[in-house]
């Protein structure tokens, strides 16, 4: 759906942040973007939405070259939730905030109302339609930003470290919402430092490092086959370390899976 081809980028002319980066994003994917601080995780997603222009290389959306498109034009396909979602909200109520996109696209007032109501329903924020965005919790603000993307009928949703600093309950709710959106066919791109989330939620991982794309594949391959995890700023999640310590237990993507298999394993006499 979205294809990045041989992209290079740097903020200052003398320095290259990364080069030779190529990858694709397909619908229904849950892609994690990981790596050390300052490796270009956020930057690569800013290139996707057009907030930065690549030095060389092209970006295609369904084979249309969108490299020269403005962020406004790309926002029909790609939604972005910033690390501080406050910074992307500027209207007095949640409903008006979500309505901004469809209004700009020229929908009639009745259509905008319908679209907004549906988007808020999907993120379970209908009861907060008249709330003042700055007074919401961070988790709620994130859902407003997600609703804004849904109202634009985005097919790709990018979230920059949405779970950092959130408590377990909020994280669980957000991940549940993202999984349900993914089932509806959206592609989710999650920039994250949380190894447990990468292992248990994502279908694919893209790791940035050494000034280029350092890894692109399944979490299982990343956490069991790569021996340079530490150099890439990653860490093997506890569940994977533990499952690897028990022969023939197989790869466990989460702690629940590990304990469940471990108990069965033990009951069968350790075989």
């Amino acid at each position: 759906m979205l294809r990045v081809s041989d992209v290079a980028f740097g903020y200052v002319p003398e320095q290259t942040l990364f080069k030779d980066v190529s990858f694709t994003i397909e619908s229904g994917e849950f892609l994690a973007v990981g790596g050390r601080n300052g490796c270009g995780k956020t930057t690569i997603t800013r290139l996707l939405v057009g907030l930065e222009t690549p030095r060389t290389g092209r970006i295609f959306y369904n084979d249309t070259d969108i490299t020269g498109w403005t962020p406004a034009k790309r926002s029909q396909y790609i939604g972005y939730v910033f690390q501080q979602p406050d910074r992307q909200m500027f209207r007095p109520t949640v409903a008006q905030e979500v309505a901004f996109g469809p209004e700009q696209q020229g929908y009639s007032r009745a259509e905008v109302k319908e679209i907004t109501a549906q988007a808020l329903e999907r993120v379970r924020l209908s009861d907060k339609a008249d709330a003042y965005p700055p007074l919401l919790h961070r988790g709620e603000k994130q859902r407003v930003a997600i609703a804004s993307a849904l109202a634009m009928q985005s097919e790709i949703l990018i979230l920059d470290e949405p779970t950092s600093g959130q408590d377990g309950t909020e994280t669980k709710e957000l991940l549940g919402l993202l999984q349900s959106l993914r089932k509806d066919g959206l592609a989710i791109v999650l920039i994250t430092h949380d190894m447990e989330i990468i292992a248990s939620q994502c279908s694919r991982v893209l790791v940035m490092g050494n000034q280029t794309k350092a890894f692109d594949g399944s979490p299982e391959e990343l956490f069991t086959k790569r021996d340079d995890l530490e150099a890439l700023g990653l860490e093997r999640p506890a569940c994977v370390s533990l499952s690897m310590a028990v022969p023939s237990l197989g790869y466990c993507a989460s702690m629940e899976e590990f304990t469940k298999r471990m108990i069965t394993y033990k009951q069968q006499g350790g075989r």
Binding site: E161, S164, G165, D167, T169, A238, T259
Partner: protein, 493 residues
């Protein structure tokens, strides 16, 4: 001195806002006044006196003491002096403070005349303050410049009266939106609210611990429901205490109560009492408490005020009046403590989030508090920053004996360092025990289980099934050791 039999019944009420709020509001309004003064068009030589109008509004909004009112008048005089087109602008130095004092008299006198509403008061104070200020100003001008009496009587006085009439119109026009705005921000105190003083009570803590929180129930501002209910806890010397609980459970409020911000900054009503090193928080001030308890809020960036790293540490000490030689040597010690040595001259904007937070902690440590309170310190840090932070504060606790209170919901990261954990639900303490006991309690009672470290949950489940050792898994290494020991087919390597 009056003794208090039951401390849980002791009530303290306080208006919201710090003691310097009158400065904030007046300076903001005077700045607006100065801008209006510069841009206001003059019709036939007449223009409203915006500076007088704005300080009238400021005095009516903040109801300062007479001394403070003179201060506001003096600042207004300096502003007018610097922007004046008059031949003898120094007259303002006399006219504005006196007029401001008079305005404060009017405002305080309003209480006796209940029928005078806020808007009417703005009209009256706008008019008469301007007349008085103008009268003093032109009279001084008349004597010093030796002006003809006819100019004074028939030229200047009518002008004073016309300007005063203009001000009688613009003062309420500024007052209404300003009142609306500051009230929304919580800056305008409700005059009907009573403030309590505990100066006459003999308050003694029940425990000799560093911090003793005794039966505290607290209502924010004018809120009808309590943020915390009958909370009692002690913080002992050398503790590393973690306070955890779901969002909005009141854990931050408990933390704010330990530094005196509840109730002295947020206002509202507190029952019970918090003692810091034996001192009741209602009988001291926040700056004095800060000498014992250092506080770093979740939004640590808001505590950083200077340009460079060393200036930030120096600022904290200069405020307390340390001598310069001591400050220079202390900067060195503190930056070593928090691992920022070598970055003295770095600008604060050039630091990473984790470094800025360590700087905020350093600035607090500079004045040697015995207790360090951190509110959600890891909420904006990545995993590497989080483990670095806990390594640092764990070291401060172990090696330097600093007592730590941390509010956090990331329990895995703090697990290896904390000796005690308190679980707060709906404003009440439901468990206060060792870290592992609290975790076990949360797991067994199914309370706030989303926050439990996954390793701990895994251990508990395997243990329940009979397949784990006796020692809980604090880190992955513990778990690996346990599992390897349990799996007979595994060859230890």
């Amino acid at each position: 001195m009056e003794r208090v039999a039951d401390i849980s019944k002791l009530v303290y009420r306080h208006k919201q806002g710090g003691q310097f709020r009158w400065v904030t509001v007046s300076v903001l309004l005077l700045a607006i006044g100065a801008i209006l003064h510069l841009v206001s068009p003059s019709v036939a030589g007449v223009t409203p006196n915006w500076v007088i109008a704005t300080y009238c509004v400021a005095i009516q909004l903040t109801r300062p003491t007479y001394k403070q009112a003179v201060g506001i008048g003096l600042v207004a005089a300096l502003i007018t002096l610097m922007t004046s087109k008059s031949a003898f602008p120094y007259g303002n130095l006399a006219s504005e403070p006196i007029a401001a004092l008079f305005c404060a008299l009017l405002v305080h006198g309003q209480a006796r005349f209940a029928f005078v509403g806020e808007k009417t008061l703005a009209i009256i104070s706008g008019f008469f303050t301007t007349v008085l200020s103008g009268a003093i100003f032109v009279t001084l001008l008349f004597f010093i410049m030796h002006l003809p009496l006819t100019v004074y009587l028939f030229g200047m006085w009518p002008l004073v009266l016309v300007v005063a009439l203009c001000n009688a119109v613009v003062t309420p026009l500024i007052y209404m939106p300003a009142h609306h705005f500051f009230e929304k921000q919580g800056f305008v105190a409700d005059r009907k609210e009573e403030e309590t003083s505990h100066a006459n009570y003999d308050l003694k803590p029940a425990s000799q611990a560093l911090i003793s929180v005794e039966h505290v129930t607290y209502y924010y501002g004018s809120s009808k429901s309590s943020a915390i209910k009958d909370v009692s806890l002690v913080v002992n010397k050398g503790d590393f205490l973690v306070i955890t609980g779901p969002a909005g459970c009141g854990k931050s409020t408990i933390c704010q109560a330990m530094v005196g911000a509840v109730p002295q900054f947020y206002g509202g009503q507190m029952q019970g009492m918090v003692f810091v090193e034996g001192q009741a928080v209602t009988q001291t001030t926040i700056p004095k408490l800060a000498m014992h308890v250092g506080f770093v809020p979740a939004d640590y960036d808001s505590t950083l005020v200077t340009m460079t790293v060393e200036e930030e540490i120096a600022f904290a000490m200069e405020n307390r009046g340390y001598d310069p030689a001591r400050i220079t040597s202390r900067i060195d010690q503190v930056l070593t403590q928090v691992g920022l040595k070598g970055l003295e001259k770095r600008t604060i904007t050039g630091l990473s989030g984790g470094q800025r937070q360590r700087l905020a902690i350093g600035a607090v440590l500079a004045t040697n508090p015995e207790i360090l309170v951190l509110d959600e310190p890891t909420s904006s840090l990545d995993p590497a920053g989080t483990s670095e932070l806990y390594e640092l504060v764990g070291r401060l606790n172990k090696e330097e004996g600093i007592t730590l209170v941390v509010v956090d919901h990331n329990l895995q990261a703090v697990l290896p360092y904390a000796n005690r954990a308190i679980l707060v639900m709906d404003g009440e303490i439901v468990k206060d025990a060792s870290m592992l006991d609290t975790l076990t309690y949360m797991y067994e009672e199914r309370l706030y289980t989303d926050a439990l470290p996954s390793l701990f949950v895994g251990y508990m489940q395997l243990k329940a099934a009979g397949y784990a050792g006796q020692a809980p898994w604090i880190c992955v290494a513990d778990a690996l050791e346990d599992i390897r020991g349990e799996v007979p087919t595994y060859v230890k390597g």
